[in-house]
Amino acid sequence: MSDDIAIKTEDLTKAYRSFFGRKKVLALNKLNIVVRKGEIFGLLGPNGSGKTTTLKLLLGLLFPTEGRAYVLGKATDDVTVKSRIGFLPEESCFYRFLNADETLDFYGQLFRIPGKERKLRTDRLLKRVGLEFARKRHLKQYSKGMLRRIGIAQALINDPGLIILDEPTSGLDPIGTRETKDLILELKSQGKTVLLCSHLLSDVQDICDSVAIIDKGELQISGTIGELLANKDIVELLIRNLSKETLAEVERFIQEKQGEVVSIKNSSGTLEDLFLKIYAANISNSKTDV
């Protein structure tokens, strides 16, 4: 396996069987994907398409019915490779009687991280995910968004080379979503590989370098975002401060050159941009009031 490949699956198949051993559901059928080191790879698909099953197979939580998978050059049943992986499960499931500090300490100990280093990493990660204020609060008192944040923190406690995130933005508000996306991009900038699965297409499009779409356990398409979304016979021009007359002239010029103007409209931002703009304004107002 090439050194620049973080994950590779070869005809990875998973069939869930009934009590009597008969095939009940074919969750994944001959999946072949390659995730390169240092990229953000998105696994897309509707609910029940086999995304989470794929992640669990890669982590050795489930066992393939057929095929193989390699993670960081090793087979998925090799426990040692997990020391270089960070995993955020779909639902943030932790011991609810622990507080944030204890939770990160517990997972840190499972990675055999020395005490002082664990403390440092815990402080840094709690600050990074914005949970410093609630570090002594039991997780049973956390909101869904806060649990998601502590989940992300525990996935990063071992400073992993490969981070596997299952629905990382699920349950987060727009600000949390943006912060998570920024964090993922930051991880990429540090040279880490991120494999995430989501059904929120806009999130994936914003941050992923490559994607694979699976449906009913079968790979539909895979490639880089650029390759998959490029529309080679349509050109988009974004122009600021153009008068109506000049616009008419440009349109006329295009028609003279046998081009077809498909639509002309004012550019609009996304709802996320608008929300973040208002939120930022409110924060700066409250600071001024103080």
């Binding site: 669990k56 982590l59 050795g60 939580l61 489930l62 066992f63 426990v79 040692t80 490779v81 997990k82 020391s83 992986i85 995993f87 499960p89 639902e91 499931c93 932790f94 011991y95 009687f97 622990l98 517990f106 997972y107 100990q109 499972l110 990675f111 055999r112 525990q154 071992n158």
Partner: protein, 428 residues
Amino acid sequence: MQQILVIAKQTFKEAVRNKILFILITLGVITICCSVFMPVVGEGREKLKIVESMCFRSITFFGTLAAILLSASSIPTDIDNKVLCTITAKPVQRANIIFGKIIGFVYIIGVLLLIMGSVSYALIRYTALRQNSQDSHGLLIREQFDPVDLQITGDSARNIGNVSWIEGGKGASVWKFRGLSSKDRKDDLEIEANFLIEGRKRSIGTIPVKIKVINPYSARVLTESMEVSQNKPLLLRLNGKSLDGSEELTIVISPGKSGDFLGIRADSLRIFWGGKGFGCNYLKGLTIISTQFLLIVVIAVLGSTFLSLPVNILFCLFVFFCGNITDFMRDLSTVINVIETREHEHAISGVMRESNVFLVCLNNIIKKPILLLSYILPDFRYFSVGKYFVDGINIPCKRIFMSFGYAVLYALVCLPISFLVFKRKEIA
């Protein structure tokens, strides 16, 4: 090892913070304290017996409950809550998870035993102190001596199961005891016998027996005639001095009348002599009980690797229940056999003598499975120490080693199975 201890600590913390341990210990302590207020018929030692019995039953009950509930539920709950998903995604060998959980439960059981054991000990001492004016032998622990040899002489009836039947005038049982010793040889020596009886008349209550106590050292012979009842132990008290310094004794017992049958087991006759301290015996008892809890934990963890929570709890209760009646299960098999052959009418009670379609069906369908089950399931009689306390008998050290060895052997069989099953378990 670090990972095992981390998981163990986590398991303990979970039991403490979820207040399960607190609730069980509180209920246990309340039950123990209530024993003081139990109404008692009789005086002196009877009150102490009730307190001792209640204390040990409470410790056993709540300890077993804690062992089953906590260890049967931990892994299935972690799987249901998906916590195990995050743990197994870390570089942790699955065997370490099992080990960690078991050590965590050992911590928990240790704390429970320490608290309930201390309270019980204090309460028993307190009760003994209060009874002291009435009974100076309140907490005296007697040494038990078992026969080293049993011989059936003469023309005896056949053996059925583990019972040998002797007919009056045709045979006798000869019991030999060695190593009889006591700190104070002036103490009375008690001979206790538990026999089964059958007579010509089916509704027989007692039969006469002849007892000869022979001192092989001085050749002194003591002959007694006594009546044996079905459900009441026969007691013969001798002065310790009568041994004349000998450490051996031979006892010959035979039914007094022809047509009367005496049913004898290898453990039907025992001798009690001397006295020892209560504290040491109490500690030995707790050690054996804790070994039993350890075995329950191992079995519950084994069940939790492949069963869901409610099924696993039922499984553990089933194993615990059947493990306490393995003897009965084997006897049942014998009884069914007897019904089938109808050879030894005197060996079974009147109710069983009539042809019973149900038992014949049992014989054909479940005799072998029951017998097999009685050998596969753990035999919890190895850990039964209640009678030692209630009867004030010293627990022999070999019993501690036996119960510990049995638990370790059983655990050595269960643990690899747990590891194998859990290693192949899918954490969905």
